[in-house]
């Protein structure tokens, strides 16, 4: 390697290094920082008697919504309210006693299984227990 080549490589790599050192903080600034959130395992979804039979409630389960359904037969069932297709919030349709995602008409039964439409997987189901006056929903382990 002659002196000219050495100087060219030296100056070229210095220039690249300078550009990278300017760009790196900008790129890191633009990319979102990770948020540390405590993983919620159990929440109070509703109070006893709050839900009439054949009705539902959307509740906050950590940062995501959950759905609590009081069925026609008096059972309480809870699922993730996030559709497995394209993450719209689902709702309970009392006339058909099914769970519906209005975005792309995905339909689930009261066990969370897909009946029709494009959702590729069932809804995540949660445990429901009653503690005093409160309906407690927890993740299945």
């Amino acid at each position: 390697m002659n002196r000219r080549n050495f100087i060219n490589i030296f100056l070229g790599s210095s220039l690249v290094g300078t550009i990278v050192s300017f760009l790196y903080p900008v790129v890191r600034y633009i990319l979102p920082a990770k948020r540390i959130e405590a993983s919620i395992k159990k929440v109070t979804a509703a109070r006893l008697g709050e839900l009439a039979p054949n009705s539902y409630k959307i509740f906050k389960f950590g940062t995501a919504p959950g759905i609590l359904i009081h069925t026609q037969t008096g059972e309480l069932r809870a699922f993730s309210a996030v559709c497995t297709h394209l993450t719209c919030n689902v709702l309970y349709e009392s006339e058909t006693e099914t769970i519906l995602c209005p975005c792309h008409n995905g339909r689930f039964d009261l066990s969370g299984n897909v009946i029709s439409g494009p959702p590729p997987a069932p809804l995540e189901s949660y445990n429901v227990e009653i503690s005093g006056e409160e309906i407690i929903v927890s993740r299945k382990t």
Binding site: I30, L31, P32, R35, I58, F59, K60, T63, A64, P65, I67, A81, H85, L86, T87, C88, N89, V90, L91, C101, P102, C103, H104, N105, V114, G117, P118, P119, P120
Partner: protein
């Protein structure tokens, strides 16, 4: 003209050489033939973009890009700020008409083979402009922070999330995290008023320079004939301005009789409202995603559909290089059929969204 005005114009002309520009505009010729009407849609797009810039700047005065105050700021704008309803409605209506005009401009360029050699990069820059304006529509839709826009954004960004390999990182980058949160709205605002306009200025600049340098394309069917040409200034520009005036009247009528709605404030913990759908220009993809089965062979239906759209978009962008016949000034009916099929697909699936919502 009085003496003072003459002197003032001469003073300006000495320094800015505007008369040279005017001479250039007079020398520039535009072909005139039975398909000339399609030439005007480029100018209409540009005019609508200028309206977007002006009304967008005005909206900035009252809009607040935060989850706690975005909806309320739009509510105040619509109900208490004098002519706030008009400025926002003009912005929203002209945005929708702009996307429609871009589609017309693109399909007319396609059917007239305006993409053929040497205008391949005019077509590609136009394709990128379409993507940019779709991104403008998508990012602007969330800004009022209402429930329709919230869920449309959720679905839209989830679609981005299903892109193989980069999907997860892309979704994370767009939303500022794994899901829509208080970080998302300022981010969308940043895209809408800073990043996308920056890209637009550059790519629109390239597009317009290419149109000026290469001139307007003549259809292949007329390439052998001698086509009459008219001066760009004043003949063409006057007709162009008539088109702009008609568009302005249309926007005015729409704003007065159908002012843009605010809807309900977004609630991430509410059920998705029934009958939800995205803006009209995304509905053909939306309805496709509705009818596609959950699995096709071993692949999730939605992933396959999205991959199909991506590959289709890529081929559409590369059509100047694929249509070899057109680049040799020969007719290529195969591509006319492809274009007609795509156009029909878009029209039918868009119509189905509105006519058969329970599909």
């Amino acid at each position: 003209m009085n003496k003072f005005l003459k002197e003032a114009l001469a003073y300006i002309d000495d320094r800015f050489k505007l008369s040279a520009l005017l001479e250039l505009a007079k020398e520039k010729k535009v072909p005139e033939h039975k398909h000339s009407i399609w030439y005007y849609f480029g100018g209409i797009c540009l005019f609508l973009f200028v309206i977007q810039v002006i009304t967008g700047i005005l909206l900035l005065l009252y809009y607040s890009p935060s989850v706690d105050s975005a909806y309320e700021s739009v509510q105040t704008l619509m109900s208490r700020v004098k002519f706030g309803w008009l400025i926002r409605s003009v912005h929203s209506w002209s945005a929708n008409i702009l996307i429609g005009a871009i589609f017309i401009h693109m399909f007319s360029a396609f059917f007239l083979r305006a993409y053929r050699k040497p205008r391949e990069f005019t077509w590609i820059s136009g394709f990128f402009l379409l993507l940019i304006f779709l991104a403008f529509g998508f990012s602007g839709y969330l800004l009022p922070w209402n429930e329709l826009s919230f869920f449309a954004t959720r679905v839209g960004t989830d679609i981005a999330g299903t892109v193989p390999l980069i999907g997860h990182a892309l979704k994370n980058f767009i939303l500022g995290g794994p899901e829509i949160s208080d970080i998302t709205l300022p981010r969308f605002f940043w895209f809408h008023i800073a990043i996308l306009p920056l890209f637009t200025v550059v790519i629109l600049g390239v597009h317009i320079i290419l149109v000026q340098v290469l001139g307007m394309s003549k259809p292949i069917s007329l390439s052998d004939n001698k086509v009459r040409e008219v001066p760009f200034f004043p003949n063409f520009i006057l007709k162009d301005m008539l088109g702009w005036l008609l568009i302005l009247v249309l926007i005015g009528v729409l704003c007065v009789f159908l002012p843009w709605e605010i809807g309900q404030k977004a609630d991430p913990f509410a059920g998705t409202p029934l009958g939800i759908k995205p803006e009209w220009y995304f509905t053909f993809m939306f309805t496709t995603l509705k009818i596609v089965p959950s699995h096709i062979l071993f692949i999730e239906g939605e992933v396959l559909a999205i991959l199909g759209f991506m590959v289709g978009g890529l081929l559409w962008m590369l059509v100047p290089f694929l249509d070899k016949k057109a680049s040799k000034e020969k007719k290529s009916p195969f591509y006319t059929w492809i274009g007609a099929f795509i156009l029909l697909y878009i029209i039918v699936f868009t119509a189905l969204t509105y006519l058969v919502p329970d599909i």
